[in-house]
């Protein structure tokens, strides 16, 4: 089990208005770990992810990343975000920039690399996700799978120490899911620390060090995949997994 050296989420609670959407959520990750968040729609998976890079503000609890308190008022949020990459369900590519432009923007404007350095870095990252031949294409000219790979390259170009994936394959046609998962498998092999929200159970089963099952903002159960999938302790976990697996 992880001892939470790298990421320690402790009793995080979050409200939207009067609605509490996260209830004392806790889990830990070591460097190089892959943790998969699962749970029904509206259970707070995206919100939990967004609390980690402060796109959403948790009201209570603690999130320690590499020794620093993320929820501290003193940290520079932009500094935090440059170290934490995020990949979105809807890709969210910058529509007016080519694939290369999308990936180069962060290195150029956030990391302050020169124009040519940032373009080179973008080229390298696009190559890494198998898009060396699509560098000059605009998002609207790419398939969903290609767009999402650009999205991954864009996050990787910041050389993050943690990657957040929010349902990276949910918006994709079934035949395009594979190419994105393949890239993610590659990252796992390289030892990237990844916190992933997904309904791809086979991916979770294969690569996750730990699965966290969220329901209505509560961590119902968490554990290594073999335990959670084969011998869930809670009845709710079992029911959810049955429902998901029958969809596959």
């Amino acid at each position: 089990m992880s001892d939470g050296d790298f990421l320690g989420v402790t009793d995080v609670s979050k409200w939207y208005g009067d609605d509490q959407v996260l209830h004392d959520v806790s889990f830990e990750m070591d460097r190089g770990d892959v943790t998969v968040l699962i749970g029904p729609s509206g259970s707070g998976k995206s919100t939990m992810l967004r609390c980690v890079n402060r796109l959403a503000e948790a009201q209570e609890g603690s999130i320690r990343l590499d020794g620093e308190e993320v929820l501290s008022p003193d940290i520079d949020v932009d500094d935090l975000r440059r170290e934490v990459g995020m990949v979105f369900q809807g890709f969210n590519l910058f529509a007016h920039l080519t694939a290369r432009g999308n990936v180069a923007l962060g290195p150029r404007r956030v990391l302050g690399l020169s124009e040519s350095e940032s373009r080179e870095r973008a080229a390298a990252q696009l190559d890494r996700v198998g898009l060396a031949d699509q560098m000059d294409s605009y998002p609207a000219e790419l398939s969903g799978g290609q767009q999402q790979r650009v999205g991954i390259a864009r996050a990787l170009a910041m050389e993050p120490k943690l990657m957040l994936f929010d349902e990276p394959t949910s918006a994709l046609d079934p035949e395009l899911i594979g190419e994105v998962l393949e890239v993610m498998h590659g990252l796992v092999d390289e030892g990237m620390t990844m916190l992933v929200v997904t309904h791809e159970m086979s991916f979770a089963r294969e690569v996750a060090d730990e699965i966290v099952f969220l329901d209505e903002g509560h961590v119902v159960e968490r554990g290594p995949p073999e335990q959670l999938f084969e011998r869930p302790e809670k009845e709710r976990t079992g029911r959810f997994l049955e429902r998901i697996e029958s969809h596959d």
Binding site: N53, L55, D78, D79, R81, R82, G85, M86, F88, G90, F91, N92, L93, F94, A95, H96, L105, G106, R109, V110, S137, Y138, P139, A140, E141, G151, R154, A155, M158
Partner: protein, 308 residues
């Protein structure tokens, strides 16, 4: 593209032929109009190198004689000669119309962008922007010009550096008025376009560590301003026509000159038809120009691709 290898259908060929005839006529008319304007202006700036300042580029008598000799056109010979006679004045007025419109539009744009950004992304500044926009859009433009000119008497405060540029300082007052007013309208169009940029892209910008302002600058504006072009073109066209209100604060632009000549000669119909055609030519030029700009900056793969 793919269409290059596919033979055209008969229907496409006929449509293409029609289109190219129409385009040819339009281009010819445009070239004639702008040729006349630019040569007239240059002639005046260079102190009458081609014809004495104030004289038409071609002698009115010659035009009249030529037309009189042509069957069918003879009836229009004297009208045509009259129009040729007043063309130097129209060209002069059109110069001011073009300058006032262009300068006000550009200056207004630089006010409109921050106004629109404040409106969409500001808190307190959003209210300021709203107040400004509503005030300027909610009151008559002519009243605004009167306040600036008669009320505040701004023409007498034009700074020295600017006061030599135009024959009359009131031109600057008109430019100020149209800039302030146009900025409010432009801001509305730009605001609408900024709002159409997907929220997710802003989130993505923030997620790689861009600040809110950087995200607006690098992500939202480059798209929003492109999307604003069609509606922004409306403001361009309106401004060309509304610039005629400057005549009411004695700016000798196109409408002012036409009105002056008409009241001296009483040939109202002919003069205002010609003036109207001149405004139409300016408006068509503006919309064609903006359509080109829109095509040139279009994001590949999004929306309609440019023909040709």
């Amino acid at each position: 593209m793919a269409s290059a290898t596919r033979p055209a259908t008969v229907r496409e060929r006929v449509a293409d032929a029609d289109r190219s005839v129409g385009r040819l006529l339009l281009v010819a008319a445009g070239a004639l109009f702008w040729g006349w304007l630019v040569v007239s202006w240059v002639n005046r700036w260079l102190g009458g190198v081609l014809v004495p300042v104030g004289q038409p580029l071609v002698p009115a008598g010659a035009v009249e004689a030529t037309l009189a000799a042509l069957p069918g056109l003879a009836a229009y010979a004297s009208d045509a000669a009259f129009v040729v006679e007043l063309s130097p004045d129209l060209a002069r007025g059109t110069w001011l119309t073009v300058v006032i419109t262009a300068v006000s539009l550009v200056l207004g744009f630089f006010i409109a962008v921050p106004l629109a950004v404040a409106r969409v992304y500001g808190r307190f500044s959003s209210w300021l922007s709203l107040g400004y926009t509503e005030l300027l859009r909610g009151t008559p433009l002519l009243a605004q010009l009167f306040v600036l000119y008669y009320g505040l008497n701004l023409a007498s405060y034009v700074p020295g550096a600017l006061s030599g540029v135009f024959p009359r300082n009131v031109v600057w007052v008109a430019i100020l008025g149209f800039t302030l007013n146009g900025a409010a309208y432009q801001a509305e169009y730009i605001r609408g376009a900024l709002e159409s940029v997907e929220e997710g892209q802003i989130t993505a910008g923030r997620a790689i560590g861009l600040s809110k302002l950087e995200t607006i600058y690098y992500v939202v504006l480059p798209q929003g301003l492109r999307y604003a072009i069609p509606s922004w073109t409306n403001e361009f066209v309106y401004l060309i026509k509304y610039s005629s209100l400057a005549a009411f604060i004695t700016v000798p632009e196109l409408y002012y000159r036409a009105d002056q000549i008409a009241s001296e000669t009483f040939r109202y119909t002919l003069i205002f038809v010609v003036t109207g055609v001149t405004y139409l030519a300016l408006v068509l030029t503006a919309s064609k120009l903006m359509a080109r700009v829109e095509g040139a900056v279009a994001i590949p793969g999004l929306g309609v691709e440019r023909e040709e």
